[in-house]
Amino acid sequence: MIEIRNLVKTYGKGSAAVHALNGVDFDVAAGEVVMLMGPSGSGKTTLLSAMGCILQATSGSIQIDGREIVGLPESKLPRIRLEHFGFIFQGFNLFPALTARENVELSLKLKGVSSSQCRRRATELLEQVGLGDKLKTHPADLSGGQKQRIAIARALAGDPPIILADEPTAALDSHSGQTVMELLTALARQRQRAVVVVTHDNRVLHYADRTVHIADGRIANHFEEGRTAA
């Protein structure tokens, strides 16, 4: 699904250069749930953005379904993001003027899904994340956990093969965090979607098929986690 080889990302130039990624090798297989852990500043967000085609890598290779994306012109990237990725952010990034359902519909509309289909799919997804009674509620009137559940519904809405989540539980209390992780991994598995989650939170590690550690812009070690809790 994703094959990353010797990926380098350097921010800035000369003496101000920051080497965020120093030759990362990283694969994600279809349908697997991978946790990406590491200390602050280790390059987790950078890696996630690069594989999500949000950030241009400096060198190396990223292949998505066999297609090389490093070095593609900027104008080609939105389409790849639209077709391959769903994003979940630490800060939710919902649209405050839109209701829960409209937020989910928006990502379907970007994909060119017809209005009536959008509505049906969005409603279905919100029901699956337990917000069937909040369809017409605006994000401001919802709790953090509920907002992140809308974001999960939104990320899944366009049926992208890969979900990328950057610290989705960091802004949540531990109970909501658990619920969010549980929903995310369960829905992803049910649909055979790959998920890469950046997290600091040891308590959610058991939702992963695999945990990858990163330090100083390098992959530190790989090891398999049991799927005991899933």
Binding site: F89, N93, F95, P96, L98, E105, L106
Partner: protein, 375 residues
Amino acid sequence: MLTLAWKNLFHDKVRLVVTLVGIVFALVLILIQFGLFLSFMDTSANIVEHSRADLWISSPKIPHVNGGSPMAESQRWKALQVPGVQRADRFILAWVPWKLPSGAIEQVQVAGFLLDGDMGRPWNIVAGSVEALRAEDTVIVDEIYKEKLGVTRLGQVVEMSGRRARVVGFTHGIRSFTTSPYIFTSFKNALNYSPGMTEKDTVYFHIRVAPGFTPAQVKRSLQQMLPQFDIYTNDEMLSKTRTYWVFETGAGITTLMGAILGLIVGIVVVAQTIYAATVDHIREFGTLKAMGASNMRIYEVILAQAAMSAVIGYTFAIAIAYFVSQGSQGGNAPIALPPQVAAGTLLLAIGMCAGASIISIRKATTIDPAMVFRG
């Protein structure tokens, strides 16, 4: 995308109100100033526009139609000899004093036309008749100037140029660009009211061109026959007069400047608020980009917001302008609001708001979707 544009627009009500106030202010200013300009264009030369003459013969070097001076009527037979001249009717336009019931004096312009011709006649008669002007010392005035001239009813006797004058008709909407109203009467009566003019004088000849001739053709022949006079086509007299009153006096330029000012104010205010809105929603635009929206989709949202603001603002502005225009019709400075101007202003409003979005669009292009992962 349109839903997002619409909802974002209404999400921040304070900003929407500020934007709309800016747009409405600008558009009302534009509509009113331009409406004034149009009505200046209209009234400044209405007496020429409605003359039904093909050509005018005047004493040399007049500045505009209201600035003619007397000339000898004796040249008329020469004009009539020119091929293509069907009629050459005398027409007087002269400034004379009018005495109000209070004793105060107003300047008016007496317009004397040949009752047996069909040129230079008053139009829009709403009371009385032109035929009544066959009686001696009779005049037709416009309703708009009733109060100004101290006229209340048909049959009233007033004093003009030191002679009695009986009001035998009213027209509607024949305005004068100057503060001096037109007073219509027969050519014969007008001679009596015009000091220093005799039976052998006129101020203009209105020429009717015979079928098969063009005014330009006949103008050339007339000019050869009467080199001491100036010959104008009706259009030439019209634009000469208009240019003088609307442009040379500065009256029209002022209104156009007002309209342009409105446009500038509008663009600045709208650009400010749209830009502020874009900056406020920058995270949302970043999210949209991260979700795979192309720059085009982002522009779509910004432009849709601009267009929606334009249409809403326009709706208020046109309603206000309509009432102002209606209210102004009885007054001295009527504001014209023809459908073409109303339609044109809608396009202008959309153009103005779209133009004001350009800096926002530039801003949106620079949004780095990676921002969505920060803080």
